[in-house]
């Protein structure tokens, strides 16, 4: 009885996450310093894409799904066209594939640069924002300026190939509506070469940060190829021995509803079933830059591997706070890859490959900036979509984020409210979660009983 009377329940709740993408919040409930529950709540309304795409032509999928996300529309377009092309048995020529890879590099550059400089770096300085960072010293101001310019050059790639920087319109099933000339692409080269140098400086800068001492036994999952740093396609691999084809994804990963979130949670399963005797976090896994770099850095361009070798951070790493370093090395990879693709570019004989609609099912995964993006479509013989499944990276990381919060929660309870809030958000921002449009200020509430 006495013990029960002395029990203390504490709830740490952040109602609106800052510097992340979307309408999210989290709650950590502790009883006598023991974590009872952790919930990452995504309360942004469901958008029903998978439902309203049924009945639409599969050829519309790239443009419709691009609207899911303002920062990674290319990822949606790439996963969509690849899934449909599998159904229609379209094989695009290498020149088309190279242009798609280049387009994707532009998206990685803009998305990663924004997250590194404007969203994540301020955490390492305990700064409220990049603005506060820029004002704090001339040196930091130069860093932020560099990040903005890097982002701009990523936008320019997307604009050149995609037709516009946000929600590009030039991608189609079978290829592109129009392909750029060699001269048009080569005009980008001076800025991309500057960007490659800037990315090296970025990697050195972020690797010098002080990283919280935190690790766990992560399962990192990413696409993998033997001939390049996988972005557009590959086999699904993990550091725990997983190695499957895209089509096998539903056999090894399962989406499930949870009461506290409008987003589905994805977890790794065995033969479609949850691991027997598993705890609440069983099957959680991580996708995104840290997973990719840990698994695939041997396939990165030589310049990125050389830069990594001289950094004070050692890979593979199980410290999620060092994801910012992996992200910076991926920016370097993207700039270098973009330069090489442009230097080798020969316009394809035709912007797209002709095709006929047919019935079937196709699944494709590409590496969005935040991690694997899975699309699976079924069409009828007129090419009309009858089934659609889309699993974005944030759904896949959600359970893993909750486990990170679960693990750091005992430390948070000892902190002042403001610091506890900051630490928890910091941990969430490691994943660059994309929910939709983010908040800036937080309301932290600690309930004591």
């Amino acid at each position: 009885m006495a013990a029960r009377q002395s029990e203390r329940i504490k709830t740490i709740r952040v109602d609106a996450l800052a510097r992340v993408e979307g309408e999210g919040a989290f709650t950590i409930r502790l009883r006598d310093h023991r974590v009872e529950d952790v919930q990452l709540r995504i309360y942004e309304p469901p958008r029903f894409y998978e439902a309203f795409m049924r009945g639409r032509a599969a050829t519309e999928a790239p443009d419709i799904t691009a609207r899911i996300c303002g920062i990674c529309p290319v990822a949606y377009q790439m996963s969509a066209v690849r899934a449909v092309e599998k159904i229609y048995q379209i094989h695009v020529p290498p020149e088309i594939r190279a242009l798609r890879q280049l387009l994707y590099c532009g998206e990685w550059i803009e998305s990663h640069s924004l997250h590194i400089y404007l969203l994540h770096a301020p955490d390492f300085f305990r700064a409220e924002s990049a603005l506060a960072l820029a004002k704090s010293s001339p040196e930091l101001r130069q860093h932020i300026e560099r990040g903005l310019r890097m982002k701009r050059h990523g936008n320019e790639i997307v604009e050149m190939i995609g037709g516009r920087a946000v929600h590009p319109i030039n991608v189609k099933v079978g290829g592109f509506y129009r392909v750029p000339t060699r001269e048009e692409l080569q005009r980008l080269l001076p800025d991309l070469r500057w960007g490659r140098d800037a990315a090296i400086e970025t990697a050195k800068w972020v690797a010098s940060f002080d990283f919280p001492d935190f690790t766990d036994d992560y399962e990192f999952v990413a696409l993998q190829r033997e001939d390049e740093y996988a972005i557009l396609d590959g086999v699904v691999c993990s550091n725990k021995g997983l190695r499957i084809r895209e089509e096998e994804f539903p056999d090894h990963f399962r989406e499930e509803q949870v009461p506290h979130s409008h987003a589905l949670h994805s977890r790794k399963v065995s033969n479609g079933e949850a691991v027997p005797g598993s705890d609440r976090f069983a099957g959680c896994y991580q996708v995104g830059p840290l997973a990719r770099w840990n698994l695939n850095r041997a396939m990165a361009p030589e310049i990125a591997r050389q830069v990594e070798a001289d950094l004070p951070v050692r890979f593979p790493t199980a410290n999620p706070y060092q994801s910012i370093v992996a992200r910076s090395l991926e920016v370097l990879t993207a700039f270098d890859t973009a330069i090489k693709l442009i230097e080798a570019y020969e316009p394809p004989a035709s912007p797209s490959v002709p095709f006929e609609p047919r019935s079937g099912t196709g699944a494709a995964i590409t590496e969005a900036p935040r991690g694997m993006l899975y699309h699976r479509y079924t069409t009828d013989d007129r090419g009309i979509l009858t089934e659609v499944t889309i699993i974005p990276p944030t759904s896949q990381n959600q359970l893993r984020i909750e486990k990170d919060l679960y693990l750091i929660a005992p430390r948070l309870v000892e902190l002042p409210e403001e610091d506890a809030c900051w630490e928890a958000e910091f941990a969430i921002r490691n994943y660059d979660p994309c929910i939709s449009c983010a908040t800036h200020f937080l309301k932290l509430q600690i309930e004591r009983q």
Partner: protein, 181 residues
């Protein structure tokens, strides 16, 4: 202070090619067609672009579209940092609002002494029966904006927040409509 004909003005029109968000670009296109040698017009999508600009004069101007129903006038001039609306979520990976982008640009010392933000209200324009036919309305806006920029660049330090269509604002447009009817 140099003679006013020597003062260049840059106008960034913020928008996209879609829906009401394209209004600033349409007006920018009309301004560019006016051939004012002192005015440089550029259409941009991303407000963060303001963080990497090199301003060539003492006055930077920005035209953005708002869905707010502005009082008196469909076009308002705000002298930064006076801006009427601050969003609760100024920065995310999807969007950076104009106020935050300007604050950041100022922190990066990219802004000239005077920054004017022109807010073009799309509220009444988008009504089922707009006050003016769209092309006529936008031509009117372009005329007024050009005239206002011409005035403000003479003494940018004196620029103040206020309606550009005045006096009467919306009523003035209505009069124009009746005259051209």
């Amino acid at each position: 202070m140099p003679h006013d004909t020597e003062l260049p003005v840059t106008l960034f029109a913020l928008g996209t090619p879609h829906g009401l968000d394209q209004l600033a670009w349409v007006v920018a296109g009309q301004l560019a067609a006016r051939n004012a040698p002192w005015l440089s017009v550029e259409c941009i999508r991303d407000p963060l672009r303001l963080g990497v600009i090199s301003s060539s004069g003492p006055l930077l101007s920005i035209l953005d579209t708002t869905l707010d129903d502005l009082p008196e006038s469909p076009l308002w001039r705000y002298r930064w940092p006076e801006l009427p609306v601050a969003t609760a979520r100024p920065v995310s990976s999807h969007a950076v609002d104009l106020r935050y982008a300007l604050e950041l640009a100022a922190g990066l010392q990219r802004l000239p002494p005077v920054v004017l933000v022109y807010a073009l209200s799309a509220a009444r324009w988008a009504e089922p029966q707009p006050t003016l036919p769209p092309d006529q309305f936008l031509r009117e806006v372009a005329d007024r904006l050009l005239e206002d920029l011409r005035l403000q660049r003479r003494h940018p330090e004196n620029a103040r927040t206020g309606p550009v269509f005045s006096p009467g604002g919306w009523a003035c447009i209505e009069t124009t409509r009746q005259q051209t009817g």
